[in-house]
């Protein structure tokens, strides 16, 4: 199932599938946010934004807006 990164539940993992490169800063790519890498939503800040992620073993926070531009594939089996 493909959803945007912004739609993940807390604790849920996915594999980064694709993104709109014009909406993503290069720095985020350099932190490991690249297609094929695993991403997990760890926490959401009060009032729903920003999001706290583990991407490719890097811990970082991005805003909802940026997260919406990233598509992730959620494995069917619950893990």
């Amino acid at each position: 199932m493909k959803v945007s990164l912004a739609q993940l539940q807390i604790g849920q993992k996915g594999i980064i599938d694709d993104f709109n490169i014009d909406l993503i800063p290069l720095k985020l790519l350099e932190m490991g946010c690249l297609p094929g890498n695993e991403v997990q939503l760890l926490q959401v800040a009060p009032f729903g934004d920003p999001l706290y992620l583990n991407v490719n073993d890097s811990y970082l926070a991005i805003r909802l807006e940026t997260a919406s531009a990233i598509q992730v594939e959620i494995p069917n089996s619950k893990s």
Partner: protein
């Protein structure tokens, strides 16, 4: 015997302990300055490698990659691309951290591609067993084509091995660790043909980065067929990044094993509390309370001590030195002027202490995360919290700390409003005025009224910063993308040595920077107050004697009369019409004018003026002198509630710091924004102070 020297550049991601490696290598043998022309901090240290060999180590600003997105990061690239730079490294040391090796290695592969001998430092080896990580060092060295030093800067382990590697740096191959040019083979092939003598990756950086280069003609590259559109460049940079990670992932698959079962997780436990939607704010508020408590309360003891010490130093100096103009200058000008700055060393030190603990521990990123959504309502970023907090120490480093805010509009607003936060230069002004006009009583037997007033002034500063940010957010029409990426580092116990060095360095540079200016202004003021034009000044003795036949306290009256007719008295008198509606006399006026260079000069100026007036009793503190002062017209105490509150409000809002204006100009690259700061803030301050005085005076 001649001592050889090698240049070393220390490079690494933020939060890898790069600065503690620097501290371990150089000890206290370091100097902090600025890169020429820009306000990026330049840290240089010396390390003795052998009896005939030393190393000059440059601690470059932390960066995630060589694709620069800030002034600090530009410095790294400009140095590494310019072989003629006197700091150009013989060896580059890339510092990485064992828990974030994958991400940290990205920068390493880029540096390696520049064909500089590069040593890889893997720091925080003491965390390996804790996290269940083991590394195959010989394998990694072979794959990455480098030498590796596994160290723990916290425990001081592995530093000698690192020094050994540095001594033998010539054994390290300069061969790139991967071939990044395969992202667009045809393009890079033609680039190679056109510039056969340059490393390919260097050419690529010249094309992609917007920085200055000596040597390489940028235009030649940009006007040729090698130019590419911004979008194309970004796609290629994405490809490059993917390529590098593929390489790194492959290397680490073999060279690193992580046993998740034995890994312990402090991060998620602490995060559960520190960024909790309720407890997170409670903890943050408590930390702020402790910081303010330390500034208002704990630092009182050393401050009182410094105050009385300077008063007795003045009277001691007067008693030993021979009478004369030079002694007057020292006793009335220099000593009280310096006392005015030395007195707030304790407060500045406390502030820098807390800020550096919060940053070292990794907590600051959690505050950014917690506050982002709220701050955005005011047109700011979560990252604005750091400048706003460090603004309570000094607006200059605070404005420089805005560099990591990616969004230009959010960054500009942060720069513009940061000077509203109560910086430490306002503290001596607040402290002395509050002690004069606010009664030292307790409200409900708990809250000290003076402390409460100070707290209120801090809140006022923050409130005003937020309010004007909100106004600017509505007024400014700037479109910019909302890029926001914050690394959430591991929690670490701050290292005492790092914190101590940071506090000492920051306090030192602040005190010496401000000290020079205060010393200069004190001398000028003393001169202007001790000499005057015309007959009135010259014949003060006769004129006063004629008017006061009764003869009590003739000396004091002569001194006041002289002061009124000195150069400074005349300047003060001429601006009196502007400031008297605010409740100030001409002496306060002079203090305000002189503090347009820097606020803290206010107390020093009053000290200098009153020392000259009351030259017979040096041992009284400044506070007592001011308290006794009477308004020449009304006959009331000069510092009463109305004029005091008016002064407090004026200092809370007015833009009275040339250095801040200069740094705003540098960071925004335009005179427009500092001009707006100056006019808006000072105009607002005048209006508010005027209203407050007119309401309160009756």
């Amino acid at each position: 015997m001649k001592v050889g020297n090698i240049n070393i550049a220390l490079i690494g991601n933020p939060n890898t302990g790069k600065t503690s490696v620097f501290n371990q290598l150089t000890g206290l043998n370091q100097q902090v300055g600025n890169y020429p022309g820009i306000t990026v901090e330049k840290k240089v240290g010396v390390c003795k490698l052998a009896s005939n060999l030393k190393a000059t180590i440059l601690d470059l600003p932390g960066t995630y990659s060589l694709n620069a997105s800030s002034l600090d990061e530009n410095v790294v690239i400009e140095l590494l691309l310019n072989k003629n730079d006197k700091d150009y490294p013989d060896v580059a040391i890339v510092v990485t951290e064992v828990e974030n090796l994958k991400r940290n290695l990205l920068l390493f592969t880029q540096i390696k591609d520049l064909e500089i001998p590069t040593i890889l430092v893997i720091n925080m080896s003491d965390r390996m067993s804790y996290k269940g990580i083991s590394l195959d060092i010989p394998y990694l060295e072979k794959q990455l084509k480098t030498k590796i030093a596994l160290i723990s800067s916290r425990k001081g382990e592995g530093i000698e091995e690192l020094k050994n590697l540095i001594v033998n740096y010539k054994n390290i191959t300069t061969e790139p660790s991967l071939n990044a040019s395969s992202i667009d083979v045809a393009y890079f092939d033609s680039l190679r043909k056109a510039f056969p003598n340059q490393p390919l990756y260097k050419l690529w950086l010249v094309i992609t980065q917007d920085v200055n280069f000596a040597n390489l003609n940028r235009n030649e590259l940009h006007n040729s067929s090698f130019a590419k559109s911004k979008d194309d460049l970004k796609r290629l940079q994405q490809k490059e990044t993917i390529k590098r990670y593929q390489f790194i992932n492959n290397v680490l698959k073999e060279g690193q094993t992580i046993d998740l079962a034995s890994a312990k997780d402090l991060r998620s436990k602490l995060d559960r509390i520190l960024i909790h939607k309720v407890f997170g704010y409670v903890v943050f508020f408590l930390i702020l309370m402790v910081i303010f408590q330390s500034i208002f309360d704990w630092s009182n003891i050393p401050m009182d001590f410094i105050d009385t010490s300077f008063a007795s130093l003045s009277s001691w100096a007067e008693s030993v030195l021979p009478a004369g103009i030079l002694t007057n200058l020292i006793v009335q000008g220099i000593i009280p002027g310096l006392g005015g700055i030395v007195i707030f060393i304790p407060q500045i030190a406390f502030l820098f202490l807390f800020i550096s603990i919060l940053e070292e521990s990794g907590y600051m990123s959690r505050v950014v995360f917690l506050m982002d959504k709220t701050m955005r309502k005011f047109g700011l970023s979560g990252k604005s919290v750091v400048p706003l907090i460090s603004g309570t120490a000094c607006a200059i480093p605070a404005i420089m700390a805005t560099r990591n805010i990616e969004n230009w509009k959010e960054r500009l607003i942060t720069i513009l409003v940061t000077p509203f936060t109560t910086c430490s230069a306002r503290l001596p002004v607040y402290a002395i005025i509050i002690s004069l006009v606010i009664p030292n009583k307790r409200l409900f037997g708990i809250f000290n009224l003076q402390g409460l007033t100070l707290m209120l002034l801090y809140l006022l500063g923050f409130g005003m910063a937020l309010f004007s940010a909100w106004v600017l957010h509505k007024v400014l029409k700037i479109q910019s993308k909302t890029y926001f990426v914050v690394e959430m580092p591991n929690y670490k116990l701050p290292m005492i040595k790092n914190v101590a060095i940071n506090v000492v360095e920051k306090t030192k540079s602040f005190v010496f920077g401000a000290g020079k200016m205060i010393l200069a202004i004190s001398i000028v003021l003393w001169f202007l107050a001790s000499y005057g034009p015309g007959e009135n000044f010259k014949n003060a003795e006769q004129i006063v004697a004629k008017e006061n036949v009764s003869g009590t306290n003739i000396e004091g009256k002569i001194a006041s009369y002289k002061l009124e007719n000195s150069y400074i008295g005349l300047i003060g008198k001429s601006i009196e019409p502007v400031i008297s509606p605010l409740g100030y006399d001409w002496k306060i006026g002079i203090a305000i004018v002189s503090s347009f260079a820097a606020r803290e000069v206010f107390v020093g100026t009053l000290a200098t003026i009153y020392s000259i007036q009351d030259s017979d009793d040096q041992d009284t503190t400044i506070r007592n002198k001011l308290s006794a002062e009477v308004h020449p017209v009304t006959g009331e105490k000069l510092f009463n509630l109305a004029s005091g509150v008016s002064l407090l409000l004026f200092y809370a809002f007015a833009m009275q710091c040339m250095s801040t204006l200069a740094v705003t100009k540098k960071e925004t690259n335009s005179w427009k924004w500092p001009a707006i700061q100056l006019v808006f803030m000072s105009g607002f301050a005048y209006t508010v102070a005027l209203i407050a005085y007119q309401i309160l005076k009756n």
